[in-house]
């Protein structure tokens, strides 16, 4: 019986597949470096749009400190899931005191302002609610607690940020796409890469690029659908 990982495709295979779609078998119109870059960019597109890669880090909460730069906390030592440190893509969940506790509720400044509350209402023993609407990407704000969280790696009183991360970059021809990119979608990467490159070409190339780009988008939608989790109420939270 075959297993799924047998369908994996390394960078060398993906380059050949892309060259085949480009009808540029000897890398004459697009050299190998360009094709490798396009393949990596296609993996990035697939991973971000389908939200395939998630990672989690712990952030030490400090008394009276509102703003935390998530990106600055991404180190292997702070990683609670895999020990990796995936580059930050965007936020997904903010937990409190470990995975056994409910997450912090997302909120907005408009909510506070319209209700004429003070930002520090609700300040207590633990960090409370989080906001990102007044901050640049990668930063978050909490209503800070009255006391520091325990020293990391203790989770008590600290927050755990789950985020959508970027895939590991493939540098060598023997590298495979990031292990969190499902093998059944590896062949679609060549389609996305070919579309990226064909946009640089002539009129016929651009027409082909548009067709391949549409196909790539359909495959990304399929990747999202593959996370179908039955008749739960959370389907609305998944992107199309």
């Amino acid at each position: 019986m075959s297993i799924l990982t047998e369908y994996r495709k390394d960078l060398a295979t993906l380059k050949n597949l892309t060259a085949f779609i480009l009808a540029d078998h000897n890398f004459e119109k697009w050299d190998e470096d360009l094709v490798e870059e396009a393949i990596n960019d296609a993996v990035l597109d697939l991973a971000i749009r389908a939200q395939m890669i998630k990672d989690e880090i712990a952030i030490h909460i400090e008394e009276d400190r509102y703003i935390y730069d998530v990106k600055g906390w991404i180190t292997a030592a702070n990683n609670a899931v895999s020990g990796t440190n995936k580059e930050f893509g965007f936020l997904n969940r903010v937990g409190l005191s470990g995975v056994v506790e409910p997450s912090l509720m997302p909120s907005s400044y408009a909510t506070i302002n319209f209700s004429q509350q003070k930002i520090n209402n609700g300040q207590g023993l633990y960090a409370n609610r989080f906001y990102i609407d007044l901050l640049s990407p990668g930063k978050l704000q909490v209503i800070p607690p009255d006391a520091d969280g325990e020293a990391l790696p203790d989770e008590a009183g600290n927050i755990q940020v789950l985020y959508v991360g970027l895939p590991d970059y493939m540098d060598n021809t023997t590298d495979f796409p990031d292990s969190m990119v499902a093998p059944q979608f590896h062949d679609s990467i060549a389609i996305g890469a070919a579309a990226i490159l064909l946009y640089e070409g002539n009129e016929g190339d651009v027409q082909r690029a548009i067709g391949l780009d549409n196909e790539f988008t359909r495959l990304i939608a399929m990747a999202v659908a593959s996370e179908y989790d039955g008749e739960t109420n959370y389907r609305g939270a998944r992107p199309a």
Binding site: E87, L91, S136, V206
Partner: protein, 273 residues
């Protein structure tokens, strides 16, 4: 390697897209490197104006009896203003015509409650009503505020601490080396805290990267915004086709950037990618 793309890479990618690549970071036949650099920077600025993703916070220090102030130099548009800082009072936006309809003079003096942007003000100005009745605090060593700088005695900034300073009068602040902490603190008290959308950092050198607060995953698509700007001045048929493609891809990027950077997870279900 990473997914980051510096100005040299962005220029090359853009020139390839518009069929004018003549070598690494070299002028094309139709477009010079300088023109492409301008297009790349302007595209990123447009992206930020459209999506409002880059934000900053600063203080406006009121002066007694002065109504109009200059916004921070990197401000594209204010988002929220508060008197006495984040934990203070929200200033509400108001048009001067509203004061007029309400037969309400804008010359009252006191703590600011509202702000306006019209009535002949420049793009970077803002007016407050009531007019501040006293100066804001310029410095306070015993209140919460922002650590302005840590100097090593040679004016080198050894610690960029753009974070709230805690425990100024409480537990000691940890610092190392031979530096000293300059205790000139801009206090929130009596001042107006402004959160705003800021402009992105301009790229000029080949090794410059897009603003560090912009997500890396958008770098690969910046060429569409730049290409769109270059192609709209061309009468060549392929350029017209590519112009449409670039515009569509660029719009999708804006939509995706705006949605995903405001993503807060399953508890706010319904945000698409």
């Amino acid at each position: 390697m990473t997914y980051e793309k510096n100005l040299r890479q962005l220029v090359n990618l853009t020139l390839r897209l518009v069929n004018d690549y003549r070598g690494d970071y070299k002028n094309g036949k139709s477009f010079t490197v300088a023109e492409v650099i301008t297009a790349v920077n302007d595209a990123i600025l447009e992206l930020v104006i459209s999506t409002g993703v880059l934000k900053n916070v600063s203080l406006i220090i009121p002066t007694e009896d002065v109504q109009v102030y200059t916004l921070p130099a990197d401000c594209l548009r204010p988002i929220q203003l508060k008197f006495n800082g984040l934990e203070g009072t929200l200033l509400l936006p108001k048009q001067v015509s509203q004061y007029d309809y309400e037969r309400d003079p804008i010359s009252d003096v006191g703590d600011p409650v509202t702000f306006y942007r019209d009535k002949g003000l420049a793009y970077n100005q803002i007016g407050f009503v009531p007019i501040p009745g006293e100066d804001g605090s310029q410095a306070a060593t015993a209140s919460a505020g922002l650590l302005r700088r840590v100097s090593d005695g040679t004016d080198n900034l050894t610690y960029d601490a753009n974070r709230a300073l805690r425990r100024v009068t409480g537990a000691p602040i940890e610092y190392g080396g031979s530096g000293r902490i300059v205790r000139g603190l801009a206090s929130n008290e009596g001042n107006i805290q402004v959160h705003y959308v800021r402009n992105p950092a301009l790229m000029a050198k080949a090794k410059d990267y897009p603003d560090t607060d912009l997500p890396t995953w958008i770098h690969k698509d910046i060429k569409f915004g730049a290409g769109r700007r270059l192609l709209r001045g061309s009468r060549v048929k392929i350029h017209a086709i590519k112009g449409v493609v670039c515009t569509n891809k660029w719009q999708m990027l804006k939509f995706r950037l705006m949605e995903l950077t405001q993503e807060t997870g399953p508890l706010t279900a319904g945000r698409p990618a």
